[in-house]
Symmetry: C2
């Protein structure tokens, strides 16, 4: 054992780097009888790995036609990584033996651990415990391993016939079998990989750990994820934020979109926050690009690896097909991309190069005349790129699928477009994104043309390509504004009972909000009719009288609300009536008296609930049918920034109501944002003690913003 | 000239068939100087066409290395099809010369006609006129021609290097350049074509004509369209309905989704009917499958060409990847497909074949154990197919992209799954649809495996594949119910002024509706206050008094409505007030008196407007913010069926309101459907005379359905 092999890596990142960059590998449990063993052995030997690959089998002298060792100890030299595929019960002994001889990194293919139930979980815990105590790092168990494309090595249990192109995309998957599909797609799109990791059970190394490591991996430009569930949400959030800061896009599929998360929550807001909508909100907030399909994952990652940050959403489109222009215009609108008319000077430049029958507008159809004039597309890109209204150019050009009679022509055309792209980038700073019309493979022939011409990445197809541009533009925007916003925090601690618990009735909840400087309607609790009448006189008529009963939702449905009361007599009668109505449904404290607000304005629901995975979630929705029938709400994880709250309000389908419709005044958005920020800050400060908090309604009428009713539930 | 060539086809379909199936072709205007000429010549000679291909050039003896004729006359034998690529001004003389010598079918590549403006339009009209008078049929001008894959012939002006596989999909495109992209996609998906047509200017032969022809073309199973605009909507509708009846799916991209059609319409409903939403509604109504992307067009067409009609929406999923199962579950939910739990007997069958660690539920992950047990997937399909809760099986299996060490293994596996599919179809009648995980090309190697194993069509990727299954299931449903519904027609003619014109005031409009047995609130026009008071007494208090002023919209916004009037004095005062309020805005007839209906129930807007392309469109929406803020409405072309109206109501995002929320009674849907059908039938009967008709609101409260206000605008 040399001293080199026993030097323990100094930090988590170094340990992960060591796992993915071993100088020597042992396949422990290698046997001719196992297809997996054959596969891993081939993957290790035929991909260009230069270090030794040892085979370990306690009984066979020869495995896969090569000499085998009875144990790791018997290898007689240090082994950086052990790929373990022994039976479940033999895993820990094998790991321990290797560890004793200096191995620090392990990939465990063997299944039968945490995924199988209680017994397996115990075995897994024992294994992880041993690893922690001995400074080991384990990928898996029940995972196929990884492919390090740059190093040409693949301690990986699934066959993949094609060669892997090294490049900037790291794939991290909570799925074994989909690795194969993503390798096919990467091959078909001609995009390069830095790393492909199948996470397995994540007993020790988690998806978030790998993302965090990749933020600092110089080979990785884009981090692409297939996610089934994120267990360590705080770690994921931290890693995602580091990635955004570092300018490395994280692109993710998160499955389980359709499983409406059933959640028991007393507060109404609970019904707003479906599990998946929280994921959506969380990803958006962190700058994680959420995609829906494997194709979108690879096309978006490929595009971002090629372009990096994009300057804006205004695209100039140049294509030899009018039909393609139509499709791009539709898709651009879907994605919120602008296709502005070209500047008169651009039009003048285009008029000089276009055939007479072509129209010089955006999207630009240079027409089939490109068959006659092969420089037409490049000329058009050069004409459009300096346009002051254009942030980036989408040009439709791709290498040919099949050889043609004159192969050099295709290469020359590819070279021409390549040098045009470089020229306009250097002269005008305008990025040019190449797209094809349809998502077909970059064939072997096309790969050759790209290689011989230096042609940059070609995004696949209008459908996925424009989607990818949309993602890239939105991600770039999120990145640019990243530093301009900080979450709102509250300076003063609210005065709270030492151990708040249970459900707080309206007047208490209103008091808490009011103390946190959130505007509320004056609210009095009246235990009897006389107190109610006195409170009404103090507040001023007309008033509202509501039953005061902690935990009683939908008070008006049970006759527990009386509106527009104008005299003390009416107030007394109303008190008795609402208390009687409420008594049928449980404990009643009395009534709550508030000033009556006439109809008008917009009613919002602002709430905070705890998501079991993501923690405190702020939700804003429009009241009434908006939330109940449409489920129209917007969410963000706490803490939130001013920009987050502005986005939330803009996301509501009923957002137009806030801008004023049919004679209603427009809401004072600045004021509203401040109030919602205040609610978020209060809830964030209350932290773990709070189960849920809901204002329903928050009445907004012009500059008036006021909480009329509220409910607070404390954690027991 | 033989007599055969001069026999004119007897009907439009025969003439189109003759155009697409010539026995001899002349390329008129062939020249070595034109890339198009080279291309068409190669496409005609190298694709297997067995008839003669004549080259016509007035000055050259040799073109493209072959002997040329100075004119069509000089060919000396009959020519079925002339492909014309002479200069614009020479087109008509050339066509006339060929026609005189017996040619009846023409493809005109030459541009410079209708697409260029007034001069070109005149030339085009002259050409079409000549063709009509002489019994000719022209495809184009300004069109690339067509490819008849079965006949191995391509009078087609664009190069395409790959061979074209004959098969069941006919592509008809209002785009030239996209033909190339669709040929690439068809090649990549390994799907076969019957015909590919680039329509050009449609001077004579329209997209709808070709669709109608294809309904009877035995080679064509699916009609795939790229549509920029449908000019002859009636013909298209008729052809689409014939296709549905014949069981031939029409799959279409219609571009221009993003161009919000600005429409001047007095009636409020005008704002509901964006051009594109009418296209959406019309396609749905006709059973035309609308897709968004070229990929979706080819994948959906490919799937339907392979499966035909599908029995239902309940899918059993069998895959070797858990991650793929997650993705399928999400996508199935998007598409309205059900993934039911398997029947206990199915579970028992699965338990016998699955490895112990696999869970026997739907979607079924048979696990990576498939590497060890190659029959596992077939076994699972056989276990799932008889399940009484499963209408079709989605099985994930595809031919390998690349050759492997044991090529016969891949072929044997493909044969096994193929025979399994045949077996379960024969034994249980359950169709099995094969899908791959990702949309990558069916490579040359994979095509070979399919050919050698007889493996059926494999839909491309989870994303597009499940989308295609969704389309196929919905299309099948539309086809099944096609015969069970007939549009509602009215028996009696409404009593109308001989020449109704202008805008009708409320009382007149209500009268028209009432005469057509549409329930309306009793409505009286009062020219003075006394008449109003008398009307109120007759109707019964409380009443509503509204200003009566034809063409005055949003009466309440200008103070023209008084609600809940309880005495004759209040009615008199209200009459004077609303008349005064209305007078500021134009001519006032007096007031309209109606019974007052208390708040509650749901208010609908039901309207009919004329779409400039599609004609009369019925729209139904929920009133208030629903229409104004959300644009939540559903449309159908008239005439409508009961099923159409049911669908319309179900499509509304606020549909839940009709089922009753927060204490409101559920609407009597049968009654509501009858009333909306009645409105549709009346408008259909009024026909061209009607510009627009709108009921706003149609009040619905339980079994009460009643028009409270209406507006009718007649065409001038």
């Amino acid at each position: 054992m040399t001293s080199e092999a026993t030097v323990a890596p100094t930090g988590p990142a170094e340990r992960i780097r060591a796992l993915f960059n071993p100088r020597s590998v042992a396949l422990v449990g290698a046997t001719d009888k196992s297809l997996w063993s054959w596969t891993v052995y081939r993957n290790m030997c035929e991909r260009g790995f230069s270090g030794p690959v040892h085979l370990v089998n306690p009984t066979a002298d020869t495995v896969h036609g090569a000499p085998a060792h009875p144990s790791v100890a018997a290898i007689g030299e240090p082994v950086d990584l052990a790929y373990v595929m022994v039976p479940t019960e033999a895993v820990l002994p094998v790991v321990a033996e290797a560890a004793e001889h200096g191995t620090r990194s392990f990939v465990i293919l063997t299944a039968g651990f945490g995924e199988t139930g209680t017994g397996g979980r115990a075995l897994e815990a024992e294994l992880v415990d041993y690893a922690h105590r001995n400074g080991l790092l384990i990928l898996g168990p029940n995972g196929n391993g990884y492919i390090n494309a740059a190093a040409g090595m693949a301690p990986f249990g699934l066959p993949f016939p094609q060669s892997i192109k090294p490049g900037g995309i790291a794939f991290v998957l909570q799925s074994g079998a989909l690795t194969t599909s993503l390798l096919s797609l990467a091959d078909a799109r001609d995009v390069g990989l830095s790393l492909m990791v199948a996470m397995g059970n994540e007993a020790m190394l988690s998806l978030s750990d790998v993302v965090d490591y990749l933020v600092d991996d110089p080979a990785t430009k884009v981090i692409a994820l297939f996610v089934e569930s994120i267990r360590d949400t705080d770690a994921f959030r931290a890693a995602a934020q580091r990635a955004l800061r570092a300018g490395k896009p994280v692109v993710a599929i998160k499955v389980g979109r359709s499983q409406a998360g059933a959640r028991a929550a007393l507060a109404h807001t609970g019904s707003l926050v479906g599990d998946d909508s929280v994921v959506d909100a969380a990803f958006r907030q962190m700058g994680v690009i959420r995609v829906r399909s494997l194709e979108e994952l690879v096309v978006t990652s490929g595009l971002l690896a090629a372009t990096g940050e994009l300057p804006g959403a205004r695209i100039g489109v140049v294509s030899p097909s009018g039909g393609a222009c139509d499709l791009v215009a539709d898709r651009a609108a879907d994605e919120g991309l602008e296709v502005p008319e070209y500047h008169p000077e651009t039009v003048a430049r285009l008029r000089e190069i276009l055939p007479e029958f072509a129209r010089a507008h955006n999207p630009l159809d240079v027409t089939g005349y490109i068959l006659v004039n092969p420089t037409l597309l490049s000329d058009a890109v050069r004409a459009v790129a300096p346009d002051p209204g254009v942030d980036l150019v989408l040009a439709f050009a791709e290498p040919p699928r099949y050889p043609t009679a004159a192969p050099q022509v295709a290469i020359d055309r590819a070279k021409a477009i390549t040098s045009t792209i470089e020229e306009v980038r250097d002269r005008h700073g305008t990025p040019v994104v190449l797209l094809g019309n349809v998502l077909t493979d970059v064939t072997e022939h096309a790969k050759g043309v790209r290689e011989q011409s230096g042609m940059p990445h070609v995004g696949g197809g209008i459908e996925m390509g424009v989607s990818a541009v949309g993602h890239a533009v939105r991600w770039s925007r999120a990145r640019r504004r990243m530093d301009s916003v900080v979450p709102r925090a509250r300076a003063t601690e609210p005065a709270l009972p030492r151990q708040p618990g249970g459900v707080w009735a309206e007047h208490q909840a209103i008091e808490l909000l009011s103390a946190a400087e959130i505007p509320t309607a004056p609210t009095s609790l009246a235990r009897d009719a006389e107190t109610a009448a006195a409170a009404a006189s103090r507040i001023g008529f007309p008033v509202v009288v509501k039953v005061a009963a902690p935990g009683l939702a939908h008070k008006s449905d049970i006759g527990g609300v009386r509106l527009g009361l104008r005299t003390v007599e009416e107030v007394r009668a109303a008190h008795e009536a609402v208390v009687a109505a409420g008594a049928a449904h449980g404990e009643v404290l009395g009534s709550t008296v508030q000033p009556y607000r006439p109809p008008g304005g917009v009613e919002l629901i602002v709430g905070v609930v705890r998501d079991p995975l993501w923690g405190a979630v702020l939700a804003v929705g429009l009241g009434g049918v908006w939330v109940e029938v449409l489920g129209d709400s917007a969410q963000r994880l706490l803490p939130v920034t001013q920009a987050d709250v502005r986005d939330m309000l803009a996301e509501l389908r009923g957002a137009e109501l806030l801008r004023g419709v049919r004679g209603q005044p427009a809401a004072d958005l600045d004021r509203l944002v401040e109030v919602v920020l205040g609610v978020g800050a209060l809830a964030h400060q209350l932290g773990e003690r709070l189960e849920s908090l809901e204002i329903n309604p928050l009445r907004v009428s012009g500059t008036e913003v006021e909480a009329l009713d509220a409910l607070v539930v404390w954690r027991e």
